[in-house]
Symmetry: C2
Subunit: 203 residues, 2 copies
């Protein structure tokens, strides 16, 4: 076994440190967040920090990087109050990754990377047509993180659009069936395959 | 396609709603958090919300459920200031899942589920010997979430213990090699296999 202590980590070359700390928490969810700018441009950005906050009411959170530079997703969510969360699957992971390039605010990442925006049910933010399912979100709260200037954004699920085969009888999503990928760090994509589903644990 | 709106979601039977909202964000990281109580008992609990907060300083966050009942992990972190994060692999996912059972505070989940606590480098919280790698954490901050009473806990990485083969040349962890699983919702475990690693994206 090898040990890397805090000082070792801080002294790593920048991209080695970023790789290490971004991959250390394990494979995590990969999602595209869709928004509409006040100029009507459809923005799309990849996030690997979308997580469960609670089921009643249904809430999801994600981490925005520090607002020291332009953050189109943040600006659009604050301006419109709405966004979509769209899972990445094996057919679109390359296009999804390309949304992380620094496009200027007059360019729609949908067009730039070759994904199709889909406006449905009068929702103010675009869904990704090629995603297997989509989640319509309304902005609820944000918490600026003192330690490093990132921001936790919390939203409420307004509706979910998903294929007929996407739900099991007890409303658990089968990500094997839905072909959802997981992300390691900023650049590594993992296919997931069902290992097991276990019963509610009792002592 | 089917649409579930907010009202539909709120009217679902409790466990269907929990399953749906817990699985909707995609497969996510599965980790065991190890702590020591003021009575010296080693506590271990499964979390599926550990996420990256930042690389400089190296910070990870996770979500605690509301503090309306006893939360041993929270109490121990607040009392000692330290905890460990241990990824779940395919050999220990059943034992890891069993830590979610409601054991009383006088029982060590390590013993109850058959995992071995390992005290190394004088760190005050136990590592899981059977985990492929381990992260020593110090408590930094917490943010109570107004919307539902959960709490975002943020900690700093103090050191990382990992096998010689665990790191690639550029310090990205290879979770194929490390056998790290991902979790869907509260009960579903996924094996991950490398799909691709992509280059830094530019417009």
């Amino acid at each position: 076994m090898q040990v890397l202590n805090l000082q070792d980590i801080l002294e790593l070359p920048k991209y080695s440190r970023i790789n290490l700390i971004n991959t250390i928490s394990g494979p995590r969810s990969g999602n595209l967040i869709g928004t509409t700018s006040t100029d009507g441009i459809y923005n799309l950005a990849i996030f690997n920090t979308v997580t469960h906050i609670g089921a009643s009411p249904p809430l999801l959170g994600f981490i925005m990087r520090p607002l020291t530079v332009e953050r189109h997703t943040y600006d659009n969510i604050k301006a419109t109050g709405f966004y979509t969360i769209n899972p990445i699957n094996t057919s679109i992971y390359k296009a999804a990754h390309q949304t992380s390039a620094k496009y200027t605010s007059d360019i729609s990442e949908f067009e730039a990377v070759g994904l199709q925006p889909e406006m449905i049910h009068n929702f103010k933010a675009p869904f990704v047509k090629e995603s297997t399912y989509g989640i319509a979100m309304s902005y609820k709260e944000e918490y600026p993180i003192k330690s490093n200037g990132t921001v936790l954004i919390i939203g409420q699920i307004e509706h979910i659009i998903l294929p007929q085969n996407g739900l099991t009888d007890d409303y658990s999503l089968n990500h094997d069936e839905l072909d959802t990928v997981a992300i390691g760090g900023l650049d590594t994509y993992y296919q997931t395959s069902l290992l097991d589903r276990l019963k509610y644990a009792r002592p």
